[in-house]
Symmetry: D2
């Protein structure tokens, strides 16, 4: 069912586990004629890299990848673009002691129940590391959008650095909110009924690890407004179709599940146990920080897809 793919016309397929040999993405449907280089994608990856902030985990891996296909003489050819990142820093031994425990807030237990097997090293396929592939693909999407004067920027709305310093000292973690704005969108992008722009954005954002909510425009705050009031607000979409005004969305991230405080849990068989984060394992006190460029990337993927699809709606 291509559950590792996203998008219709501009469609990505990602693969790879956190501590496997490599992760990567295949971009199918990128228009031909776009100038593209390894460096541009690697620059986008650098923004997501751990260690950019005092509040992100210490994995030193540079996340440098290479384009394997789909680019010829510096331009896209219309053929699928594979971008591959070899994994380097994977000391999987850390994960051995905890492989039989239910990790609080983690996917290992559901994966095991679903598949009967789980690559437990570093979260395997469920790791946030998969989002590097989204950022790589998003860099390409953003470049196509830029060609049409569409830009997307995201930022962390919450928490503050003070709150982070505090929670980090406790070995604990905090949730967060990321906001993105797309500007320069022409009117008419997005499709009725089930491919409304906000529907695809919602899907994109909730497909990210650790996200728990999405809202567009005034979002949840509109539930207490009156129509006479709300109708006056600018709206990024109407009927699922872009209005030409800035499109604003927000994503809610839960607090990082991996914390330095020991937690009560069970073994996979259900016996009580204590979960202690392995020595040397990475720890982000707030996943939302590193998710900022990923949110940007996902928004770009949705919008570029809508942009291309919109070419087909009129005779």
């Amino acid at each position: 069912m291509a559950t590792n793919s996203f998008g219709n016309i501009f469609r990505i397929t990602t693969f790879g586990e956190s501590h496997g040999k490599a992760i990567g993405v295949v971009i199918d449907g990128c228009p031909a004629g776009l100038e593209l280089s390894d460096d541009e994608i690697n620059a986008a990856l650098a923004l997501r890299a751990p260690g950019n902030s005092p509040f992100t985990s210490k994995r030193k891996e540079p996340d440098v990848g290479e384009i394997l296909s789909g680019v010829f003489e510096g331009k896209t050819t219309g053929s699928p673009i594979c971008f591959l990142i070899r994994n380097q820093d994977h000391n999987s031994a850390h994960y051995e002691p905890i492989k039989d425990l239910v990790r609080p807030g983690h996917a290992n237990s559901t994966y095991i129940q679903k598949y009967g097997v789980f690559d437990y090293r570093g979260g395997g396929r469920a790791s946030a590391r998969e989002t590097a592939c989204r950022v790589a693909a998003g860099a390409v999407a953003k470049k196509v959008l830029a060609h049409y004067c569409v830009s997307i920027t995201a930022c962390l709305k919450q928490p503050t650095e003070d709150q982070l310093t505090h929670v980090m000292a406790e070995g604990d973690s905090l949730g967060g909110i990321i906001e993105f704005v797309a500007e320069g969108l022409p009117c008419g992008l997005g499709d009725p009924v089930y491919e409304k722009l906000e529907a695809n954005l919602a899907c994109a954002m909730l497909s990210l690890p650790a996200t728990k909510g999405f809202e567009i425009d005034a979002g949840f705050s509109c539930v207490s407004m009156k129509g006479s009031e709300h109708n006056k607000l600018p709206s990024g979409t109407l009927g699922g179709i872009s209005t030409g005004k800035p499109l604003i969305g927000r994503v809610a991230c839960k607090p990082t599940s991996s914390i330095k405080i020991p937690q009560a849990t069970t073994t996979l068989e259900g016996k009580p146990a204590t979960f202690v984060l392995p020595e040397g394992s990475r720890h982000d006190p707030c996943v939302a920080i590193r998710a900022v460029p990923v949110v940007e990337a996902m928004a770009a993927l949705v919008l570029v897809d809508a942009l291309l699809l919109n070419r087909c709606v009129r005779l």
Copy 2:
């Protein structure tokens, strides 16, 4: 691009405009062997019908449809099920005077810009009337789920009836929140990475007219929690896969755009104008009321699809 379709294995395609000849849905992929009758679907539609509450619009149309295909001797055959509802109460003349105005909060302007044409009668394809088809399909989905002991219930969390009485007297409208709970879900439904259960639910909910936000579990409230606190909460999904615990989601609806108060607007060409809701046109002070069974239906569609798809994951 099948933008009027939803789902993978259990897949619906809807058609029809508010004031056209009929609306309908084709359900492809419903398992064979399910007992199904017109009456059951019509009973589900009755719950969504206008006039059930003092706060819903007065369109008297009974919304009675018929199964045209896919059922033989009272059981589904595995062939596509078409359910058709003929439109009856459509006095489209109401809409003639406003056809050249930008309707505040409505999709007519974006549709016209996208397609160069818009069936302006009653909102056309963008009308909430399309959701009757979702409820019809959802009734079938719920019946399949019930066979596997999965139930879904939704309710209006906000506003109160007092607030509604107030706003109705003013000719104004209010937003609202709908909450749904899915119970009895086995562990293991939902698929990494881009078909996470919450991603598909988010897409489903934001594909509904007038929705502005979606959240799962603690949702936006988790952004201020600590990991040590949040990890203790029950979670309907982990890594996008159902845990076996109740799955809870909430949907934010904006206030109804059509209000009885005259509003400043422009013509489609951009000249200033006043928008006055046509005499006799329907008016719901809170769209969230009638969206409750629709939210249930959409949740059911997502879950039945995940249930079927989950049969393919192991050797």
Copy 3:
């Protein structure tokens, strides 16, 4: 899995059984702005209707349908077009006596094994009647193509009318070959790798009942040619992409399975039995005759889809 749908951008979904209430098709993705009326589609259906030739079955049903949605003031709106044909002439009692027999060359036994149930009346979903929906959709596709000066014509290459007279007198049937030609195609339609034009045409044709083969250009005759000879022939596609030259294909149809001669068979439980075609049941001595407009329709559906999709390949 949407197994009753065909196409990507211009996508059809068909429903309905031969002797059910109705058959129909939903066309999603037809460009907005196309003039379209019931009459045009019904005219296309009339060409497929039984009774047009002395060699086609006598079902008198006029096959008149109506557009239920997606057309406003005589033009397509970009919303899904549902075209519905009510069934009229369905004396299902004919089929009662044979419902427990394996019908030679028919799908009833495989459907029952697959689904545990089969709407045996007139072939149910497996009936060639479903192809009326393809013709209806094909009429719309052909109109879009005509707008771009692309035309498709099909004809019966084999058998001759003499052969048919002969075999009809025997109560037997014959296979046949249908050839189609698409002219006016621009260069560049069709997509590597798995959406090659000939791949989608092959899929389209082999999805028709009773077809056993498809070939493009010189087809099977090229297997005995030398490269120096074959390279000189005109080719409708190269690398799956249209060359701008006429595109020619041929479809092989098996002889009609329903013949007037009694045949040895078994019951569904496996006991020996004799299959006798019910009195009054329809009988075409050569299914290929009525398949001619259906082949045209399927070719049109593939080509219109490729035409639209081709808008997305360049920056």
Copy 4:
């Protein structure tokens, strides 16, 4: 539009050009729990490798690839499997002199017209080299099928070795026919209406480079048969659904376009020119020889997909 993907549940996406850095395939939807190693896939690739026969081209490249993801402790995990083959033997300078010529029977001219650019080195994306990825994925599909006692074997039916020796001496080429047989298929695989087993097989085979026709069962020979005669033949499918009997198909391949005889052509701008195959460039006198394992692979991909999808059809 994911035109480089094939399949629904068991879905492959291929990437890479003949003379680029690498080619590869991502398999999404392979059931968890299948034992799988690099060696098994490489063994399948070895069967397709050039140089296995006196009649295949001399590219010495060993085609050894590696699994990058989706396998943990020797078993598939349900996560996407990426298999990557680095290109080694690519002397692209050969292609420089002919880059501005229309290559007779080749896709370079249509690609350029479609995309405005073409990676001309060795045929780029249009090269038969892409089929190595299909063989790799087919090896996995065949292993899943073997688990359910389904086997597929293909062979070259035409031409003879004598014919090949002859044509090779002339520097010319010949077409060919490949036949495959699937045995052990349970009854019930394949889906009405547009996902009939033969429709998907036809699509699979015509998506291969140089193929011009596909037939199932008696194929084109049935067009001269009578119903009374044809109904007695065993049939691999009825109504698009497997019968449980062996399923037999045949694929027609055109003669290799690249021949050693100089040919009249034009430049891409349309001026007359002579096309001479570059010194040292590979030359297969009959592409059908190396296509045998590819046909097997494509049949396996179709059948494994049908096998998995069939799990969803009943309550």
